[in-house]
Structure formats: C-alpha cells, structure tokens
C-alpha cells in the first residue's frame, strides 16, 4: 500500500502504490452491486481529483488519512454545528492535505483541494477564530497553489472572520489582492477593503499601495460605483504612494 517494508512505520505522507485508471478498470469488471454503489458515491471526487484517492497525509492521532477522507470529513463536519475548535481541526487537516499534495508536486490536485477547502471555509469563517483563519491561509499562500477562485474565498474568509481588522490578517488580504487584483470579485473587494480600512491598525496596512494596484488593474471605476464612500478616501490615498509618484513623475 505505502511501499514500506513489513513492520516498518513512517509518519510521512505517502502515495499509495497503485494507479487510479487501471484500478478503476479492475473495479468496473469485477464489482458487484455494493461495490458499484460505493464507487458511484465517490465517482465525482475521483473524476475531479484522482490523487485524493491515492495520497495520504501525515498521521493525525497515529493514523494516516487519504485526501479524499479528509475532504469528506470536512464537508460532513460543517453541518453538525461543531465547536470552533473542532471546525478548525477539520480545516487544518484539509489544509495539511493540500500542502502535502504540493510537496508531492501534485499541483493540479493541490490547486483543486485548496480551492475546495477555502470555498467550504467561507461558510464558517464568521465563527472561526481570526488567528486560526490567518494561520491556515498563510500556510496555503506559502506552500500551495492559490488560484484566483481560491484567493477570492480566502479574502472573503479574512474579511468575515474579522481577521482583516488587524495587521496580520490585513497583510495576508493585501498580498492576495495585489496578486489577483484583476480577477477578485468586486463585492469581495469591497468587503475586504472596508474591513481593512475600518480595522484596529489601518496605519499598518499599505492602503495607498493597494489603491495604486487596484487603479493599475482597472478596478477604480467599478469600486467607485459600488462603494463611493469607501473608494473616495481610498483612491485619494493613492496620490501619497511612492509607487504612483515613481510611475507618474508629473502627477504630483
């Protein structure tokens, strides 16, 4: 299963030593009704992220867990009104699964799992501790593939968990907005910018730099239309940014 010698053990993540396409073919010709039903239940996940079936994350409580298992647990956990600690635990496990995939160079699967994790976390962000949301998102920014869709979810989580109110969360949101300034949904941008501008430490956030990035990405008219009260002071800041002065020497 994991390529280890008999009796050997490891705390490392591993990939199961079988290929999914021939394994599925084997199941298709030998399955009976109950096996078929099980395969049918998992088919959408296997089709989308085959590596979820074969990649196992480092042990939690002494047991390795496949990525598919971690994802399923996460999806099921959120509907049972678990405590914030339990919720954080399932999201952290899924986050470990995502980063383990990245370490194994399974980047497509990693991007998919990161998207699914952050997309799912949007529903719970309002009741998660801000520092835990930051921790998970920070780890994913550093170690995983964060697609534009995942980035939008991450920014939404930072805003609704109130994480973007303080310096740490706001700096993560700034990083994500700067990287995906052209694609982030306008409504999410407004939510995040409001949280950052109204936060405890607005001075620590480079709002001026962010304003310049958004202008350069062509987002100014949209934001001015959607939230004039927010956009006016924000874009006024852009004239104070050293970046803008550097790019347009004559404008000041």
């Amino acid at each position: 299963m994991n390529g280890l010698e008999h009796g050997a053990s490891s705390d490392l993540p591993f990939g199961a030593i079988f290929e999914v396409p021939p394994a599925l073919r084997s199941m298709q010709i030998s399955n009976h009704l109950s096996d078929d039903a099980l395969l049918h239940a998992l088919e959408p996940l296997i089709r989308r992220i085959p590596a979820a079936l074969t990649q196992f994350t480092a042990p939690e409580d002494g047991r390795h867990s496949s990525v598919a298992h971690s994802l399923t647990r996460m999806w099921l956990a959120i509907s049972q009104s678990p405590s914030p600690e339990d919720l954080v635990a399932v999201y952290k496990t899924a986050s470990e699964a995502a980063t383990d995939l990245a370490r194994s160079k399974l980047l497509t699967a990693n991007a998919d799992v990161t998207e699914l994790l952050l997309g799912t976390m949007r529903a719970d962000a309002y009741r998660l501790p801000a520092e835990e949301v930051c921790g998970i998102i920070h780890q994913l920014i550093d170690e995983a593939v964060v697609t534009p869709v995942a980035a939008a979810s991450a920014i939404y989580c930072l805003a609704t968990s109130q994480a973007a109110h303080d310096g740490y969360g706001a700096s993560l949101a700034t990083t994500l907005i700067q990287k995906h300034a052209d694609s982030i949904d306008g409504r999410i941008l407004v939510l995040a910018l409001r949280a950052m501008a109204g936060g405890d430490e607005p001075a620590r956030v480079d709002l001026a730099g962010l304003a310049v990035t958004l202008i350069e990405a062509g987002r100014r008219p949209e934001l001015e239309h959607a939230a004039p009260d927010l956009a006016e002071p924000l874009f006024a800041l852009s004239t104070t940014s050293p970046r803008l002065r550097r790019n347009n020497p004559g404008s000041s």
């Binding site: 079988f18 290929e19 396409p21 021939p22 394994a23 073919r25 084997s26 298709q28 010709i29 030998s30 399955n31 009976h32 009704l33 078929d36 049918h40």
Partner: protein
C-alpha cells in the same frame, strides 16, 4: 499483447477468434483440470484453471474485436454477473501486479481493446442488475 496481436493479424483471424471464444467459454463454464509438468510457481488447482481461462481471454481480446460477456456465457440470463465472478477468480489467481498490468493493457488504444461499462444509473432498475460489461475495441 501488441506482439500477440501482431501474430494474430492473419487472414484466418476471424476463424481463430471464434475458436478462441469457444475455448474461453468452455474454460469458464466447464473447466477441466489438466495436469501439466510446467509449474513455475506453486498455485492451487483452481487458480491454475483460472490462469488458463484468463490467458485464453487475453488471446481472444488480442484478435481485436469486441467481446461481450454474452459471447462467453450463452446459457445464462445474467452474463455480466458471470463475467464479474470470473474476473474475481482471475484477480485471485494471478499476482496483483500482473492483474493491474492487464488492466493497463485493456485501456491502451495500442492493443485495440478497452473495457466499457454502461453507466450505473441507467442499468440498475428494480434492483435487477442489467449492466452488461463489454470489451470494446478502440483501434
């Protein structure tokens, strides 16, 4: 498989195939154990018989045309179930890496045979299994 398929690429292929289907069907439905001196590994008698029918199946598939469960199991109402049972016996009889290698080969267009199963939802009605398994040539 490509090597065998090349050998079978002969004007007589249709005749050879029909003979192979008959032998494969016989080895699955009325198997007889023939003592052989060639026994490179230890195996149970039933596993030798399953290995034999599996080899005949591979030879039949190497002829290139579609093979349906109903071609092999002509006297049953549910050929798919019979094929599934046989597949479990083949799986038990050969080392797992060989079985998985065979599964790779079946999917490879180079060999001209792939396994197709009709979709789940449309094939289970009133709890009755009507799913038919086909070996479908792609080449």
């Amino acid at each position: 498989m490509p090597f065998i398929a090349g050998l079978l690429d002969d004007p007589d292929r249709t005749r050879i195939r029909s003979w192979l289907i008959g032998r494969t069907a016989q080895s699955l439905t009325r198997p007889q154990y023939a003592e052989s001196r060639y026994r490179p590994v230890d195996k149970r008698i039933d596993h030798w018989m399953a290995t034999y029918s599996f080899n005949l199946l591979l030879l039949t598939l190497a002829c290139g045309a579609e093979l349906r469960a109903s071609d092999l199991f002509t006297r049953t109402n549910d050929p798919a179930a019979m094929l599934r049972n046989s597949a479990l016996q083949w799986q038990a009889a050969v080392p797992s890496y060989m079985w998985m290698d065979a599964m790779e080969v079946f999917g490879s267009p180079a060999v001209g045979a792939t396994v197709a199963v009709t979709s789940f939802s449309s094939t289970r009605a009133n709890g009755q299994a009507t799913c038919r398994i086909r070996w479908t040539p792609t080449g």
